[in-house]
Amino acid sequence: MLDNVLFYFFAGLAVASAVLTVTRRNAVHSAIFLITALLATAGIFLQLRAEFLFIVQIILYVGGIMVLFVFVIMLVNLDVAVRQIQFARQKWVALVVALALAAQVGLMFWSSGKMPGQGLPVQTAVAADKLLPNSEELAKSLFSTYLLPFEIASVLLLVAMIGAVVMAKKRTYRSDASD
């Protein structure tokens, strides 16, 4: 019962604030509603007993990435941007793509209902304590089975850091640089 209430609360919050994110004119309002959507997603993670991802979502997304977004919105000229047209003339393209995606997933559910044994294989979840303690299980898997992807992710983050610094750096042209 509590599971149902929590899921529908967070799901409704996530969908509503996602819709507001893509429809608000002001980019700051979009950012604030995106923060709400990300927090609601964190609630969904907690409802799925993924405590470590819940904390990571809040610290990294809400605390890190969104601060970056708000900083960039502050750096670029907002006053001019608000008064311009915010939506490109691609409403029909968006509608077609959304309908195609929805139709694909609807077809999947329809066919899984029609043909027994070909749908989603397991319908009932395993016991809730299978993945506990969550951080410990995650760390065991991350540092044994997925050690190589973990190291590659660290290289990726290093490259992204260098790339972001190079991109955002102010170009200074010195007169003695003759190359």
Binding site: D3, N4, A11, A14, V15, A18, T21, V22, A27, S30, A31, L34, A37, L38, T41, I44, F45, L48, R49, A50, L53, Q57, L60, I65, L68, F69, V72, I73, V76, N77, A81, Q86, F87, A88, Q90, K91, A94, V97, A98, L101, A102, V105, L120, A125, V126, A127, A128, L131, L138, S141, T145, Y146, A153, L156, L157, A160, M161, G163, A164, M167
Partner: protein, 100 residues
């Protein structure tokens, strides 16, 4: 946990909202935010299946996707700042330097 279909529909809804945002918005910063929404929708699916099968691999992959999203946001926003310094705009249909 609720039946898996609930989580899949939630992920689908967030994904579609994100795609519509990417296609319709002109402001590049909001387009990047929509991409974050899409990545989040994928994360919900991964964590839901991880809970369904009792396998922690889904959560590990969700962690990698979050790291990817951080890298993408940092580089993307760096590009936006560099572009805004040169062209004084953040609207994507004015970024037509390579257009015929």
């Amino acid at each position: 946990m609720l039946p898996i279909e609930n989580y899949l529909f939630l992920g689908l809804a967030l994904f579609i909202i994100g795609v519509v945002g990417v296609i319709t918005r002109r402001n590049v910063i909001v387009v990047l935010m929509s991409i974050e929404l899409i990545l989040n929708a994928v994360n919900i699916n991964l964590v839901a299946f991880s809970r369904l099968y009792g396998d922690v691999a889904g959560q590990v992959f969700a962690l990698f996707i979050i790291a990817d999203a951080a890298a993408e946001a940092a580089v993307g926003l760096g590009i936006i700042i560099a572009f805004f310094r040169n062209r004084e705009t953040v609207l994507e249909d004015e970024m037509d330097l390579l257009k015929w």
